[in-house]
Amino acid sequence: MEIPESELVVFLGASGSGKSTLLNILGGLDRASDGEAHFFGQALTEMSDGQLTQYRRHHVGFVFQFYNLMPSLTALENVELVTEIADDPLDPAEALGLVGLGKRQDHFPAELSGGEQQRVAIARAIAKRPTVLFCDEPTGALDSVTGRQVLRVLQDINRDLATSIMVITHAAATAEMAHRVIEMSDGQIREMRVNPTRKSADEIVW
């Protein structure tokens, strides 16, 4: 299976279907026990720890279900944590602007709502201008209104920055905004389909 550049891909599947494991392998966070994965022709599955680190450092952004912000750093500093080690990053304040949090940059995570925290996490992930953005249940901990805001941000980034985005979710409705949908169960890819007509994030109902 091959995924073209600059697409927004949604992975669907029940709990335990293996989507997080696949994402972790693709993101260089974990090793595959079997099989191969390639990134622009390079075998991720054969990289050393050091190479995987460089891969994550320069090409990959992550957004997690529980935001995983550093509690002792402000929103801006959380973003700086990543721009600090990136080659050609966005300005951290600009990245926060992109997710609509320009005015909240000096707040600590404890002072932000769940949706705001997740948007900081997205700003942190895109600030390094990653080639791929991996999102593991980005709306899983959010209500529908906030969840939709987060999806809109992802869609904008995909469109404006041409960043490839892979989203894991068990909310099937999310698939309606994807270029491509991959369904998984029992650790296997059951189906891959290309979305003929994509909905905008605002139109999604769940």
């Binding site: 993101g27 450092r57 995983n68 550093m70 002792s72 750093l73 500093e77 944590l81 990136a86």
Partner: protein
């Protein structure tokens, strides 16, 4: 500043309480190291400087009476740099407040100019005017003890004639740093004086005009004292020389050196133990702190931070704590070292202190604390780095409690659910539990050890003054007298018992080994002052042989059956051989005992005694002392009560204060360890405790699960702490003991009990501090903090 460094500072601030507790433990270990090293170096440096500045002689050569021209012969000996003759003599000073006259030593000063050797430090007043026979300088310590000052007069008896003298100045001297009356061990400012006066006046008083009775000799650098001693002895022999000796055998110097060596040994043994315990704590705490950060570590790695970058970040965190601790320790160490060195001046009469610290000690302190912190961090970081970021970010898999199931099943009827949770957790993580137990036990062992040493000193003290010495007073004669004096003493009204003894200054030789000391001649089955071994059994005298204390036997490397050569250093100075018939483990010191009659036989001086121990009727004591004072031949009377008080003062200052400080530091470390254990356990379990609260446990029930575990760990640590403490006390006793002094460690129930109370107080206090946090636990956010 990079965001990671900002995170570092904020994390440190958030954990400031715990970080400070860890720093404090490190600080205490470092402080002890720096302090003890500072004391040793300061005392040693001060001693050297004092000796050099006031030109203390290398060799002392006592003689009966040698004409001044003999000094020129001595000066011609190879290796003699300078020589000076002087007059010394015993004296008695009458002090109104003292029941018995105070023993004193009169020392001559040249009538013109400063002495070539053994100069004095003038602490107050002025020097003696040339040829003024009624002017004296008085030993400062003695003057202070009796409130005497320049301008006062005192009455003293020199060679049998009583005179009044004007005190014109107070003085100190490097040869009387440790000022004790001859025959006594402990210095007592109140009961021993030195007076310096015009040589002409003193020579007249002791009938040595135009002559001297002690030669002071400066030996050139690089020359062996031994060859000079032999040559001097040969020259002085015809004039009644009683044997030259060098600084090693000079009373004051010997004790000062012994004491400094004792401190040095102790500084080699005790601080490393304290530091090791601090290092162990640092290791445990740091490893568990990092374990708790595994999600953040996984996250940083997910962002693309390398293991080296993440590792360095956490190392900085640890090093910051260790550095703060080390700096505090160095500061406190320097400060307390100075304060302590000053307190040693209580009985070392140094007119000044030369503060000296060995720079390498700071380096050692920094190295030890940094490396143990780094080691603790690296061991855990390696474990975390071995995980892929995805794994690190997942909370660790729930612990597998199935192994403990069978144990728990049997306990089911006995223990309630929360208690079973405690037992399960300990069984599940035996290594962590063991580390916590060892940590608490190690802290406690410091307390047990230091208390055991203090109790050991206390025991020796009590035994010395209740079991060993049961007399009320001891009379010392100017020179050995015939035993008819004993009958006279017995006839004194109010005197109950009189027990004569003979004490002979000697040099004991065995092959190349030799020791300068004294032989105590004891009557058969003495009752008032007994020779007891370490088990408090009387030491048996075997016929004409000599019985040695074990340390002395070691110095001379002799065993039972060997023969010693005894060179007597008084009277006709006979030399005789005597078989070693026993070696006894003694309580204190390095004694040599002989049967009184056998000793006198060997000396060819039958029926001579040096003094007697007395018991008296308390009601008549004043009258008895009044009469003893005027009895011919009596050099002085030592009251047991006075000696006991002096001993007590010495025990409580200097080294005693040091032991006290160690006990305090041990308590601080114990608290630091217990508190940190509680803190970390809480951090690790906040989530579980919040869950318990959510499902309906009360605050107290939730607290019980955590604090019960701590209590159990603490109780398990008590016996281990005791055992480790016993070992530590023995090692420290070894360090405190010198060739001459054996300090027993006594880790009795009392030390154990006190240390146990310290640990329990620390536990209760820590428990209370953590309980407050359990009560404040934010249920919602605690549950959110992990999946």
């Amino acid at each position: 500043m990079s965001p990671l460094d900002r995170k570092l500072l904020r994390d440190l601030w958030r954990m400031r309480g715990q970080a400070f507790a860890i720093s404090l433990v490190v600080a205490v270990g470092v402080m002890l190291l720096v302090m003890m090293n500072g004391i040793v170096n300061t005392l040693d440096e001060t001693r050297q400087t004092y000796y050099d500045r006031y030109r203390l002689a290398d060799v002392f050569a006592p003689v009966k009476r040698a004409p001044d021209h003999v000094l020129q012969d001595i000066a011609k000996i190879d290796g003699v740099g300078a020589v000076e003759g002087r007059v010394i003599g015993g004296a008695l000073i009458d002090i109104e407040s003292m029941a018995v006259p105070v023993r004193a030593m009169a020392v001559s000063l040249p009538d013109f100019g400063a002495p070539i050797l053994n100069d004095v430090y003038l602490a107050a007043g002025r020097k003696i005017s040339p040829r003024r026979r009624d002017e004296i300088l008085l030993l400062k310590g003695f003057a202070d003890a009796h409130g005497l000052a320049p301008g006062d007069t005192i009455s003293a008896t020199l060679n049998g004639s009583r005179r009044r003298f004007d005190i014109v100045g107070l003085a100190q001297s490097p040869e009387f740093i440790y000022a004790t009356a001859p025959g006594e061990i402990m210095p007592d400012d109140r009961r021993f004086a030195v007076i310096w006066m015009s040589e002409e006046a003193l020579a007249a008083a002791y009938d040595v005009d135009g002559a001297f009775n002690q030669a002071l000799i400066d030996v050139a650098r690089g020359v062996e004292n031994k060859s000079v001693l032999t040559a001097v002895d040969r020259i002085l022999q015809p004039y009644g020389g009683t044997g030259a000796y060098d600084l090693d055998d000079q009373f004051s110097n010997r004790f000062v050196v012994e004491e400094i060596n004792q401190q040095r040994m102790s500084s080699y043994i005790t601080p490393p133990v304290f530091l090791a315990v601090a290092a162990f704590l640092l290791y445990i705490v740091v490893s568990r702190l990092i374990e708790a950060e595994r999600i953040q570590i996984g996250l940083l790695k997910a962002f693309g931070y390398t293991s080296a970058e993440v590792g360095w970040h956490y190392l900085k965190f640890i090093l910051a704590i260790a550095i703060v601790g080390t700096m505090m320790g160095c500061g406190l160490g320097i400060w307390s070292g100075r304060a302590m060195a000053a307190s040693f001046q209580q009985y070392y009469k140094f007119p000044f202190l030369v503060f000296a610290a060995d720079p390498s000690v700071f380096l050692t302190a920094i190295l030890i604390s940094m490396s143990s912190a780094t080691a603790g961090g690296l061991i855990v970081l390696r474990r975390v780095f071995a995980l892929m970021p995805a794994e690190a970010m997942r909370p660790p898999a729930p612990d597998d409690f199935s192994k403990s199931a069978s144990v728990i099943k049997t306990l089911k009827g006995v223990l309630d659910q929360p208690t079973r949770m405690i037992v399960r957790r300990l069984l599940r993580q035996p290594r962590r539990a063991l580390a916590a137990i060892i940590g608490i036990a190690a802290g406690m062992s410091l307390s047990v050890g230091t208390l055991g040493i203090m109790a050991g000193f206390e025991d020796s003290f009590n035994l010395s003054f209740t079991v060993v010495d049961r007399s009320d007073a001891t009379v010392i004669f100017i020179e050995p007298l015939g035993d008819k004096t004993i009958y006279e003493l017995k006839r004194e009204p109010g005197v109950f018992e009189v027990e004569p003894f003979r004490s002979v200054p000697v040099v004991l030789k065995h092959g190349v080994k030799s020791h300068r000391g004294e032989i105590s001649g004891l009557i058969e089955a003495p009752q008032l002052n007994r020779a007891l071994d370490a088990d408090l059994n009387p030491i048996a005298m075997h016929g004409g042989g000599i019985v040695l204390g074990a340390p002395l036997a070691k110095i001379l490397s002799v065993s039972t059956g060997d023969t010693l050569v005894v060179e007597v250093r008084e009277g006709r100075r006979p030399v005789f051989e005597v078989p070693v018939t026993g070696i006894a483990e003694t309580l204190l010191g390095a004694p040599a005992y002989m049967d009184l009659e056998a000793l006198n036989r060997a000396m060819k001086e039958p029926n001579r005694v040096s003094g007697a121990h007395l018991t008296i009727d308390e009601a008549q004591s004043a009258a008895i002392y009044e009469r003893l004072k005027d009895m011919p031949g009596v050099a002085g009377v030592a009251l047991r009560e006075d000696v006991r008080k002096a001993f007590r003062r010495i025990m409580d200052s200097g080294a005693g204060a040091m032991r006290f400080i160690m006990a305090i530091l041990a308590a601080i470390i114990t608290f630091g360890i217990v508190y940190n254990s509680a803190r970390i356990a809480f951090a690790e379990r906040a989530h579980d405790l919040a869950s318990l609260r959510v499902i309906g446990f009360t605050r107290n029930e939730a607290a019980y699960v955590l604090l019960g575990e701590l209590a159990l760990l603490t109780f398990l640590a008590l016996p281990l702490g005791y055992l480790m403490g016993v070992g530590l006390a023995e090692a420290m006793a070894e360090g405190f003991s010198t060739d001459l002094y054996q300090i027993p460690a006594n880790v009795g129930l009392e030390s154990f009990g006190t240390a146990m109370v310290a640990v329990l107080v620390a536990s209760v206090l820590s428990g209370w501090l953590v309980k407050r946090d359990i009560d404040r636990l934010d249920l919602v956010s605690a549950l959110k903090s992990r999946e």
